[in-house]
Subunit: 173 residues, 2 copies
DNA sequence: AGTGAAAGAACCAATGG
DNA sequence: CCATTGGTTCTTTCACT
């Protein structure tokens, strides 16, 4: 399946090779508006920035090419899709397993309930944010998919009462 | 500034009152595709789902009205906009300050460097994910904006080496 | 880089199965 | 609840400044 964010063009599919982006004030405004609402019409952004729609379009494309904008995603309420329980799970690995962290990280990324993965300093190696159906699903996730893994030395689960992403709830940034 | 995700219509601007989220297989496919790439054309989603474009469009609108899809946002690389250092900060509040958590949470949400806020169980009250320019900015954030707050009993900062959101890097889900 | 104009695509409401 | 149609708006490319 093609990626339609890139439908018009042929810019690098990879994460990015970007030389460090120099964003002027116009670029920053565009980024802010698209962060607040990815469906803001190009027209409207152009008007807000005081430039022509075609110019604005070109800048947005450039921002994607440079990796400043990595993609556009729908923000889906986990509870609405049957995942009403969220948790943070701290994971400590065995010392010998730290050689190939990438492999374990890919494994985590492949688990369907994982929302995000933090690879961190300190006494824990990973912290993952998960959204599951209920406490039974959480137990199963920890017991079957984490604790049983040979590289996992231990886990520590914290239930999330509320989760907020400020940028995602202020459409008029 | 208007919210252009709602340009055509008049559905509730609030978070949502919707209880009824019965998603059939078609709805789930739509949600998955828009989660992977919010700019997937309506036509393409309709084709993938085997329904007419107008029907598909109506379903997407309905999903927004019901609060299943909360919005569409550009995924911006923090490092590309001058915020190359990410951290997790655990915050413990004084017992007497737990009366109005919402106020403190709104305060956190208003800090420009805060990416997300977790209100959690356990010995910590909040865990916030921040993206800042450098370690000096991180120090200032913790010292000036958190530790000095009267309701804050203590903080614990963990630097993030890597942060991944699995759904956001698989455009062809 | 920025612009204007024109072709193509997507959106949205109304209508009918 | 779903499909078809048609008017309107947005996107995207291109020749030019």
């Amino acid at each position: 399946m093609p990626n339609y964010s890139e439908r018009g063009g042929s810019f690098p599919p990879g994460p990015n090779n970007a030389r460090h982006a120099f964003l002027d004030e116009t670029d920053r405004l565009i980024v802010r508006m698209l962060q607040a609402d990815a469906r803001t019409p190009n027209n409207a952004i152009a008007a807000a920035a005081g430039i022509a729609p075609s110019t604005c379009h070109g800048r947005i494309r450039s921002l994607q090419e440079r990796g400043v904008i990595r993609g556009f995603h729908a923000d889906v309420d986990p509870a609405a899709v049957g995942r009403g329980l969220q948790a943070l799970i701290a994971i400590r690995l065995h010392a010998h397993a730290r050689a190939n962290l990438t492999e374990f990280e890919n494994y985590l990324a492949g688990l369907p309930d994982v929302e995000s993965i933090f690879f961190v300093t300190g006494d824990r190696d990973f912290l993952i944010h998960v959204a599951v159906a209920d406490s039974a699903a959480l137990r199963d996730l920890v017991a079957a998919n984490l604790s049983l893994r040979p590289e996992v030395a231990g886990t520590n689960t914290t239930v999330i009462f509320e989760y907020v992403r400020p940028t995602e709830r202020s459409p008029s940034a």
